[in-house]
Symmetry: C2
Subunit: 127 residues, 2 copies
């Protein structure tokens, strides 16, 4: 796809399923907060509104992060990788990114040790 066709300043490859992985990184601490997916619509809304949007594969719909929990992500910068098939959202995270209450979804090591901070109680946020 050419630059003008993509509608963005770089070529993007949304692949067969129309999705690219989008990594959210804390602008202040550099922590990797979560990995989700975006389609073209989600990326366009993210860029236009300055608030992180994804595509929920489980709910099969556009997902404005924090619309339910209030734990929104304000966009500082959106980056694209060399192949144009992955995104990096550099964000100011309100509260925690993870539905478990942790600041980051990557709160465990592969050995099973919890190393991430819990910042809210999901029972207080999700009904």
């Amino acid at each position: 796809m050419s630059e003008s066709e993509s509608g963005f300043g770089v070529d993007l490859d949304f692949g067969d399923d129309g999705l690219v992985p989008a990594v959210a990184q804390d602008a202040e601490t550099g922590d990797v907060l979560m990995l989700a997916y975006a389609n073209r619509d989600a990326l366009e809304r993210t860029v236009e509104t300055g608030v992180a949007h994804y595509y929920s594969r489980s709910r099969e719909e556009l997902w404005e992060k924090g619309a339910t929990s209030g734990h929104t992500q304000s966009i500082e910068e959106v980056r694209v990788d060399c192949d144009g098939d992955a995104l990096l959202y550099v964000v100011e995270q309100t509260g925690g990114a993870c539905h478990t209450g942790h600041r980051s979804c990557f709160y465990r090591t592969v050995e099973g040790e919890t190393v991430g901070e819990r910042v809210f109680d999901p029972d207080d946020v999700y009904e």
Copy 2:
């Protein structure tokens, strides 16, 4: 899959294609370096050897990062996200992560501005 079946300390979901996205983060600077994919074999070798391995979707084979370029990634920690379907490799990166010569594959904004540092000339590294 149960913990014991997974062979790791946490449940992992490699999905229909046997792959999970793996984000590499610079242990020193916190920069997100790249996003690639890992299958079970790649993750096992990463954990066992302490050197980042991925699965190359284009070459359809196990990929030891830096085997050709020398730009290896020494593993400091492997993290797993809440759903067990994404990995975070926290690494010490030798040279640059990106085949374009940039330190990070996320060297451009979605508007097309180059913001990342170029640390080597690909012509000197790849023949």
